[in-house]
Structure formats: C-alpha cells, structure tokens
C-alpha cells in the first residue's frame, strides 16, 4: 500500500541544498586549535605529569600526617567556624544592600539614563574584578585585622556579583507585565514594586542563597590575609607543620560547608 504522501516524497529530481563546509573538517580544526592552546598553556605552567607519578610517595607521607587529627583545640576551632558563618551572613547582607541599587540602575530596561547605566555597570565590573582577598588586604589596613575587615571585603565583592546577576535577571523579564502596570499611570517606584519585583524575586533570592554558600567557602579562607574566622588557623597550622591540628581544621571546614550547603539549598528549593 502506498503512503498518501508518496508523491511528495518521490516526485521530481532530488533537491539540492546549498553547499556547506563538512562537519568533520570543522570538528578537526576546532580540536587542533584547542590542543595547540592547551599545549602552550601547559608549557607556561610547567606541566610535568611524570614527576607527579614519580613522587607519589611524598604525598603518602603528607597524607599520613593528616590521619591523626588532634582535638586539643577543638573548642577554639569550632568557635572560629561560628565566626566564619557570621562573616558570611553579614557579608551576604551587605552584598544584598549594595546589589539592589546597582542592579536596578545597571539594567538596560530600567536605568533612567544611558550614562547611569554605564556607570552602574562599570562599578559592578570593578567590584567583581577585584578579588575578595585583595579587598580584605585593603580593609585590614583600613579597619584593622579581624572579622569586620573580612566581612566588608566579602560584602563589597559579592555586591558586584549579585548586582550583575540582578541586572541581568531584570533585563530578561517580560516587558508586557511591566507595561500593564505603567499603563495605568503608576509612577516609577510603583512600576518597579508591582511590575518588576514579582518577576525578579524568586530568581534573585536563589542567587543570594547561592552566593551565601560561596561566601561561606571564601570566609573559611579569608582569615589567611587577616580577615578573621577559621582561615587564620588553617594557614597557621599548615605553615607550622602541625599536621594533626591542620587535619582538624580541614575537617571542620568541610563539615561547615556541607551543612550550610544543605540548609541553603533546602531554603532555595522552598523559595521557588
């Protein structure tokens, strides 16, 4: 039995699609280019895989030192973990406060003027480009050693990251819903509160919590440059070859990061 569309499928000369470069050639070319770049980059970083194999015994010695964690200063380290979580909490709050105005002004569809848009975007670029450790070094000189400096550093850097994420979330909203609010003659703040915030809020809250998880990891090491928290003890115990102590600190950090990640991702799922 012939198909009802057999006429269409078999009628006339075979169609000639426009020519196209072969897919195999493009794949090979891309692979070769990638290999060349990675090879050059490997030369630059002095990649010596053979030494890794030859000296694997040294790693054994290193690991053996960590197999006996010392619990002599556990209370001190545990308290420093609490300090670390508090640095991340306040750092994320400061970041949130910084990111909202920057994100609103740096969203193309909301910014009052192209100059304001440009300024807000570049300000966020600067905050993101400078690592939190660099900010920590600056704040340690400004406000002295300790968690306050670390918190400020985290907050400022993360403020740039969250601001950028917020402005991009705002740029992707449905303009029709905003127009529906603006069309009744509502003023700018009302348009934002009713037309923009409901569209942006779930995603933005999710980004804030993700950054909080990342801030916990950063806060755990920012003590290395004087920013307070468990990081100082990590640095101190490793540098003085107190392997047992260092093992305890590492274990505590892993436990802290895992706990906060689980809690934060639960909240994130509930928020959406």
């Amino acid at each position: 039995m012939t198909s009802p569309v057999a006429g269409i499928l078999s009628h006339g000369p075979s169609p000639k699609a426009p020519p196209r470069r072969s897919a195999l050639g493009r794949t090979l070319l891309t692979a070769a280019a990638l290999a060349a770049v990675m090879g050059l980059a490997g030369r630059v970083i002095e990649l010596r895989p053979l030494e890794l194999v030859r000296d694997v015994g040294n790693i054994g010695v290193f690991v053996k030192g960590y197999l006996h964690p010392s619990f002599a200063h556990l209370d001190e380290y545990a308290w420093q973990c609490v300090v670390t979580v508090c640095i991340a909490l306040w750092g994320t709050l400061v970041a949130f406060v910084i990111s909202v105005p920057l994100g609103l002004l740096g969203a193309r569809n909301l910014s009052p003027h192209p100059v304001v848009y440009f300024a807000a975007r570049r300000a966020m670029d600067v905050l993101r480009a400078v690592n939190e450790f660099v900010f920590a070094l600056m704040f340690v000189t400004a406000v002295g050693l300790g968690p306050f400096a670390g918190m400020l550093a985290l907050g400022i850097h993360t403020g740039g990251v969250l601001g950028k994420l917020l402005s991009e979330t705002i740029e992707n909203i449905d303009p029709g819903q905003v127009e529906g609010v603006a069309a009744v003659g509502a003023d700018r703040l009302h348009v934002i509160a009713f037309g923009v915030v409901p569209q942006v809020l779930p995603n933005f809250l999710s980004y804030v919590l993700l950054r909080f998880e990342s801030d916990i990891r950063s806060a755990a090491v920012i003590g290395m440059v004087g920013g307070g928290g468990i990081g100082f003890y990590l640095w101190d115990t490793i540098r003085s070859f107190k392997d047992g102590e260092a093992a305890t600190v590492v274990l505590l950090i892993v436990a802290m990061v895992m706990c906060t990640d689980v809690i934060s991702s639960r909240i994130r799922r509930a928020a959406i």
Binding site: G176, G180, V181, V184, G185, H190, A193, Q199
Partner: protein
C-alpha cells in the same frame, strides 16, 4: 457606588496624525473626531497601522505629524506627572492581558487603584498594603466580572478568558475616562471573546465611556461597534457604521474580501448575555 466613573468620555480629535519609524510610514493623515460614548472598532490587515494608532492615543509613542486632542488637552507635550495623569485617564486592555502573572488576582486589580492613591498610601502600596476603601473598590470590580472567588489565586493559574476578565476588573478599578483595546479578544476562543466584548460594551454604555479597539475579526466589529475605522497602509480608507461594511468596503480595507470561513464566527448563535456569573 459604581466602580466606574459616570462622567462621560472626552471628545477625541485626531488631526492629520502621521507616524513613521525610520523610513517606514506606519500612519499618515489620520483625521477623525470620536464622540463621547462611541464604540469604535479599528480594522485592517496586519501592518496597516492599527496598533500604532492605539499607541499614539495611549501616548506610548508620539505622532511624527499632526495632533491628538482629548477633551481640552493636546497629547504631544505631556511628560512626567501630566503624562502619568493621562495614562490614568486611559484604560488599556491588551491581547496578552499584561497582568503580573505571579501576583494574586486581587493585587492585579489593585494595580488599577495605584494612580488614585495619595500621601502615605502611595508608599504603603510599595509593600502591597492598601487601605480598606481601595481594597473594597477592587473587590467590587472583581465581583463585577464574576471572579470574586478567585481573588487570592495566583493570576497565571487562571485561563485566558478569566485573565482577560481580571484585566477588565483592573480597568474598572482604574476608573478611566476612555478605554483602548489592543486586540482584546485575539487570543481568546469565541465564547470567551464574546463574553469579554459583552462585558466591555456593557460597562462602556452604562458609564458613557468611549471604547476604541482594534479587532481582528470583522464579525466582532459588526456585532459590537457603533463605528468602524478601516485602515490600509496607514491611512483611513473607511469611516462609518458597521452596516456600511459591504463587499466593496471590505475590498478597499483588506485588498480582498476576507476568507468567509475564517470570519464565520458563530457570534449570532451565542446565548444573549454571554457573561457567566460564576
């Protein structure tokens, strides 16, 4: 208390209105005087300038030539607070409803109250806090379109027809002096489309409000409009009552008589008051 104002609409005067986007001419020499309380349908092919004309009236865009006057004032120089006041006087209803999908139905109706807030209430509204009087007005509007029971539901859980009725409740809450429709029934089925148009016409005639609406189906224009403006390539080629829409007129507006099957809406077979009151 009636949610809609009983003050009649202003006279809308269009004088040689033209609008171009770059080299492309969207409207040219549109002249019309729309009397208070008229139900005007704008028909024409895609790209004929129907939406451009509506957007000029809502002052979403400014005409390149000519003038539009509403009541005593000219639309062109409006900006800032005066422009917002104009928008508050003009209620717009859209093809895609343009409701805030994640907000509750009642919050969307309350959006219509925003231009009527004064003093501290404007700031309270930023936290979606409205006082009892405004809340009651919004609930009355919702009741009027038969959706009171859905007040707390998230708007995107409603069907298209229901969302368009929420948009009408929001329009009522806004207490506009004039209603503009941008293809208000183009994404609705026949039953819901007729229900929405019936509601619009009922509200408009009860309050003496002018309605100016683009309509993609000639049948809708025939059934609901007092007056039809036919646009072709940005110019008005037909201006008259819907009974004047004979074959020659349709040929002038559309270039051909629109396919009969496409326009064969069973509007006349619908039960008379199509508005459900569930």
């Amino acid at each position: 208390m009636s949610p809609a104002s009983t003050v009649a609409s202003p006279v809308v005067v269009l004088e040689r209105v033209g609008r171009h986007f770059g080299a492309q001419v969207a409207l040219r020499g549109v002249t019309a005087c729309i009397r208070p309380g008229e139900f005007v349908a704008i028909i024409g092919r895609s790209g004929a300038g129907k939406t451009t004309l509506l957007r000029c009236l809502s002052r979403a865009i400014v005409p390149s030539e000519g003038a539009i006057r509403m009541g005593g004032y000219d639309l062109r120089p409006l900006r800032g607070a005066a422009l917002r006041a104009h928008r508050a006087r003009v209620g717009v209803i859209y093809q895609q409803f343009n409701l805030v999908r994640r907000l509750s139905v009642l919050d969307n109706v309350l959006v219509g109250r925003l231009p009527h807030l004064a003093g501290w209430r404007r700031y309270a509204a930023l936290a979606r806090a409205f006082d009892a009087a405004h809340r009651e007005a919004a609930l009355r509007c919702l009741d009027h379109v038969g959706l009171l029971s859905r007040a707390w539901q998230r708007t995107d859980t409603l069907s298209g027809g229901e969302q368009q009725r929420v948009a009408i409740a929001k329009l009522l809450a806004q207490e506009p002096r004039l209603i503009l429709g941008d293809e208000p029934v183009a994404s609705l089925d026949v039953i819901n489309g007729a229900m929405v148009m019936d509601t619009l016409r009922r509200i408009a005639s009860a309050a003496g409000l002018t309605v100016i609406s683009t309509l993609h189906h000639v049948e809708y224009a025939r059934r609901y409009a007092d007056r039809v403006l036919g646009l072709r390539a940005g110019q008005v080629v037909f201006d008259g009552p819907p009974r004047g829409l004979d074959e020659a007129a349709l040929r002038t507006i559309f270039g051909s008589v629109p396919d009969a099957t496409e326009n064969d809406l069973p509007l006349d077979r619908l039960a008379e008051p199509a508005l459900a009151t569930n």
